[in-house]
């Protein structure tokens, strides 16, 4: 079960009001390679993993992604909370504001809402972990693009923490993949050589 700890994983910080930057950063909240997709993907894949290391890693990394979701939300919330209506309009956030005011919603940088098609839970453990490794790389790349776009050193610092975590997660999933391959390479089928069931 889940329990909430009233403390961010990292001190997410914003220096100035910046709805333009918020519009980009929100993609890691509800976009294709963001933290919502990551957490749901891992937390739903874990049910059908065949080895305990995989169940633990998916549970724990999935949980950490929820903590990252909270950090991204904190960035967006603080980037827009003091914005005037003019700031919002100038930043091109008026279309978002019309539907959500300054509330957090799951969209990408263009306002496209989150969709379950962003994730897969294919059942085949090798397939699932390979997808997870790709997901971590996509997230890493996205944080790099966001750091390029950021003109706020405090936001950049927080994005860098999240970027580092994606790299670590990629490493962990690589280890799970190796463990799965070991698991499948162990002989569990005991053949009866020469047995012919049709012989009388």
């Amino acid at each position: 079960m889940w329990v909430y700890q009233k403390m961010l994983e990292y001190p997410a910080r914003v220096r100035t009001c910046n709805p333009r930057l918020a519009k980009a950063v929100i993609t890691q909240y509800g976009g294709p390679d963001g933290e919502l997709g990551a957490s749901l993907r891992y937390l739903t894949q874990r049910y059908t993993m065949p080895i305990p290391e995989a169940k633990a890693a998916l549970t724990d990394i999935g949980t950490e992604e929820l903590a990252h979701l909270e950090i991204v939300a904190t960035l967006v919330y603080n980037l827009i909370k003091d914005a005037s209506i003019n700031d919002i309009i100038r930043a091109g956030m008026d279309t978002y504001y019309a539907d959500h005011d300054k509330a957090l919603y799951f969209v990408n940088a263009s306002g496209v809402p989150w969709v379950a098609a962003y994730i897969q839970s294919k059942g085949d453990p090798i397939t699932d972990i390979t997808e997870d490794m790709a997901a971590e790389q996509k997230a890493r790349s996205t944080y790099e693009y966001l750091m390029q776009l950021s003109d706020d050193p405090d936001v950049t610092d927080t994005l860098r923490f999240l970027w580092q975590r994606e790299i670590v997660h990629f490493q962990r999933f690589g280890e799970v993949l190796n463990l799965l391959e070991d698991h499948y390479s162990h002989q569990r089928v005991f053949e009866m050589r020469g047995w012919d069931p049709t012989a009388r």
């Binding site: 329990v3 909430y4 670590v168 997660h169 962990r172």
Partner: protein, 90 residues
């Protein structure tokens, strides 16, 4: 949130992060004795620091897992919530 509380919370966050990192490592290296030792050490330090923080400032966890204090009120709901904390510099 005053500077003193912020510093103490910051310290907790650092300890918690080390625990999380070791936790993930141990998930794929369950027989690594050194990592297990390190995890146990940081866990211990984290639990003590968390207990001390909660006794003074109220619970950090809900559903019965948080520390209890002598406060006559339900402190869990108190502000600030994590996304409202302004981590002031210097």
């Amino acid at each position: 949130m005053d500077r003193k509380q912020m510093d103490r919370l910051r310290h907790l966050m650092e300890l918690e992060f080390v625990a999380i990192e070791l936790n993930l490592f141990l998930d794929t290296h369950p027989y690594d004795r050194r990592a297990l030792q390190d995890f146990r050490a940081v866990s211990q330090e984290l639990m003590m620091a968390k207990s001390a923080y909660e006794a003074e400032y109220g619970p950090l966890l809900n559903f019965g897992l948080g520390g209890t204090s002598s406060s006559p009120s339900w402190e869990w709901i108190n502000d600030p919530w994590p996304w409202e904390i302004n981590w002031r510099r210097g």
